[in-house]
């Protein structure tokens, strides 16, 4: 057992896996930030703009929500001639995640009463001011748990990027695994991979739960 441990956790392996983890985190963070911005715009359009742009946002959301992420990764990585593979893979993940986040934000927007718009207008707020100061803060407060769950999903979804050989955590794990042939060593690397994701995702899901508990008590 100790031998297996020593064989697998060589300094070069650890460094390689750490680099993979760093890339996974970097991709996740940037994808989540861009997706929240883009997804919010899509949700606002779909909820409050019933003409062309709203329809377009609806079409975008339905298209990405009803097709697999893997399809978009392959499309972006094989059919876009620009950028590095990491950027193209990240783009696919962003396009896909934005659609999901847009639906979450829309759920939050639907819970806001129409009267708030009238009240804000009567106080001289413009539409943009109403959205920024009144509607969106309430909306985001109510959807924090769903958004965080989506962040967990996004972290896990970055593992799909291994299919186009982006050296994120899963890929680096598989590369390391290629050098080992015995069962305990391979299982050990699978365990390292699972634990790596588990630590990130589980701590996030603990945050979700404690937040839910707090808001439930507040009510």
């Amino acid at each position: 057992m100790l031998d297996v441990f020593k064989n697998v956790f060589t300094p070069s392996n650890v460094e390689f896996l750490a680099k993979g983890m760093a890339l996974t985190i970097a991709i996740s963070v940037s994808v989540v930030i861009i997706s929240i911005i883009f997804g919010t715009i899509l949700a606002l359009l779909r909820t409050y703009e019933k003409r062309f742009l709203g329809k377009l946002a609806g079409f975008y959301i339905e298209m990405f929500r009803n097709t697999p992420l893997l399809l978009w990764i392959l499309v972006c990585c094989f059919m876009i001639p620009y950028g590095t593979i990491v950027i193209r893979g990240g783009l696919a993940l962003t396009l896909y995640t934005s659609a999901v986040i847009a639906e979450i934000v829309r759920g939050g927007l639907n819970s806001i009463a129409e009267g708030q718009f009238e009240a804000a207008t009567s106080q001289g707020f413009t539409l943009i001011q109403t959205l920024i100061y009144i509607v969106l803060p309430q909306c985001f407060k109510s959807i924090v748990p769903s958004l965080l769950s989506q962040v967990i999903t996004t972290v896990k979804d970055t593992s799909f990027l291994q299919v186009v050989a982006i050296p994120e955590y899963t890929r680096s794990g598989f590369v390391v695994m290629g050098r080992y042939t015995t069962t305990p060593e391979v299982f050990m690397i699978f365990a390292v991979l699972a634990v790596g994701y588990f630590v990130i995702c589980f701590s996030l899901s603990c945050v979700v739960r404690s937040y839910q508990k707090r808001t439930q008590i507040a009510r």
Partner: protein
Amino acid sequence: MFGEGFLRTIEVAALALILALVLGIIFGVISTSNNKVMRGIARIYVEFFQNTPLVIQVFFLYNGLAIAGLRLSVFVIGVLGIGVYHGAYVSEVVKTGITSIPEGQVEAAKSQGFTYIQYMRYIILPQTIKIILPPLTNQAVNLIKNTSVLAMISGFDLMYMADSWASSSLDYGPSYVFAGLLYFMLCFPLATWARKYEERLKRNDTTRTLYDPCEEAVTC
């Protein structure tokens, strides 16, 4: 070729969905029981499968078990891997559904002489099913989309067929568009039905404070 892959995707999705529902209901009910050990088991199952990527789980079944000497067919891996993964999500949905029914109803039923089976059958479950149907349908949509991981282990599903056709004929565009359309055809009706049903439920339901879909994690 696409037809074959499409059929394979539907088969895997249907069987995995059945497995996910069975596991989900079992673990969902267990996680609302009074027994601490049972609750712990359900909790470990849910946390483990929800917090590690499906890709790693599927590769473990494919590569890891093969090295250990157990070689499963890709079809079995698909059903097992995806079914068990989504079972964890279904279990959370079932649990939320059951806990959203107020305790008072059970007490009322018991006071009227209902047995456990009777009040589950006539009072708790009918309400639960109505509440959890939309999130369950969303899970089914996610499950269908996730069958595409099989493409990574050459599972001969729709995504694999589309990808191999694309790389052999170099018609990437048409091949991906066609595969996308087929997935869309499967998922869109389900997703739309779930949304409509949920909206109707919200309009008609006087007990909406019990369950706020906004707070529910609908993704996976």
